[in-house]
Amino acid sequence: MNPTTSVEVVYHKPDSQRRVRTHYCAGCGHGIVHRIICEVVDEFGVREKTVAVAPVGCAVLAYDYFDFDVCEAPHGRTPAVATGIKRALPDRFVFSYQGDGDLAAIGTAEIIHAANRGENICVFFVNNAVYGMTQGQMAPTSLVGQRTATTPRGRDPKNEGYPIRMCELIATLQAPAYVERVTVSSPANIRKAKKAIRKAFQTQLDGKGFSFIEILSPCPTYWRWDPVTAVKELEKRMIPVFPLGVYRDWEKREEMKR
């Protein structure tokens, strides 16, 4: 047997992902989420019609990894910028990528109203319960008792309130088409996350409206655990507070109407 012909490529970087060194910390979930988004862009063949919007936070540099058009947005205004792009070019594929500080604190108004208008965009919301870019402060999604730079004795609900559950909040609105919470804590969960992201793409390409995928993601650096412990703790501590699952599905709604 000729050894050269027996070699088969079974795994490669997506075409729409740039070949660059990562700036993300060891064990960070952003790299995984970037990769699966790029895989799905390739699978749908939409690289040349994609315009993404990057947030402020660790993922501000998302445009260094995505090999398609990307626009930066001021902190939290990501859904407003995505709205402006989609309204200008309705036949392009538009998604925004946001972290928990960007989306659930400074940008709460923008995300709620983009969702409420049913903007035909996808929002990929990476929730790691901490501000990573600015040295680990409390996020709106930080867990009760979580120690951060600004809650050194742990998040105290009497002083800082409780973690905001964005999927649940958005699912109270009538317009959103697809809302699901997933995680990238294990290979099995990564496959489920990819399935949700695929569904979000399909939702927009079918013109069904707003889709919102929340991705629970580890931040070993500011959780102060090693990467393996971080994913275990994510499953143990975060998932009970942020239950995984589908919160809105336009297909189910249409079935119910039938």
Partner: protein
Amino acid sequence: MAQKVFMAGNEAAGEGAIQAGCLAYYGYPITPQNELTGYMAQHMPAKGRVFLQAESELAAVNMVLGSSAAGIRAMTSSSSPGISLKQEGISYLAAMELPAVIVNVQRGGPGLGNIAPGQADYWQATRGGGHGDYRCIVLAPYSVQEMLTIVSDAFDLADKYRMVVMVLADGRLGQMMEPVEIPDFPAKPAAAKPWALDGCAGRPARKLRSLFLNEDLLEELNLRLQETYRQVEASEVRFEETATDDADVVMVAYGTCARVCKEALREARKRGMKVGLIRPITLWPFPKQPFRAAAARGAKFLVVEMSAGQMIDDVRLALDRPAEVRFYGRMGGNVPEWDAAVGIIREMIAGQRTGD
């Protein structure tokens, strides 16, 4: 055939934008500019263009940012408190070198102020307004007709220089009605935008950003912005001069105050006083040359504003020799009166110095 219609300044601003090929308008309610948002709500969707009422001024300006990044002509409008909220977005637009037109129908301030006309946002508009070293081109209409033509021109300037153009009007100009000639705007081909984000079909992927962690790259951006601003200063200064040739006193005013000053000019001339008027149309870049020429002829200056005195700084900066510069302003939404201006002119010609 040019069409003559009777309309409010705010409506004329909307029509000017539509004529200029504005394809997306994002607004948020605030008095005294609501007729502009209403006009766009009425006319933009009917033409297959985008009208959207945003959840805030912050969202509106960032929707403009998105549409401009996507390569189309986009606009927002507001009044003073709302313009303060837009400053974040304006700084990003400037840094990302995105064209945009923003209309400020100024009202009384500071704070919530009131809904009467004001001109106290001059510093904010002409000095940048948000964070960082940047400029906006600032245009000042003084009639309903100019609300239309200047807003229309603003889109061309914004595209030409990839800058924010702010149209600095005031509540009186926005609210009042006058006959307006809607010119036969020649159909212009849309400007090529080889930087727009419209999908990377047949070309390398693009990004539009304002984050440059490398100091040299950020300085490079800043130097490029400054170079653009120098070009604008060299090419785009606009002003109107009235009867300045023999004037002992030259009034300086823009917007509604320029209308008051035209009345003062007529009345003062009737009384034998040699008075002129410089009306800056571009507030940035500020016209320096007419001030230097008038000062060289020995003229004194009377700056009239609906503020505590903001444009007067630019008049002083424009002058290259000592000259008497006096100020007459009203605040709180009050409008200066022509007879008060004539009274001050009389004193200035008589050589009396009271105050200043």
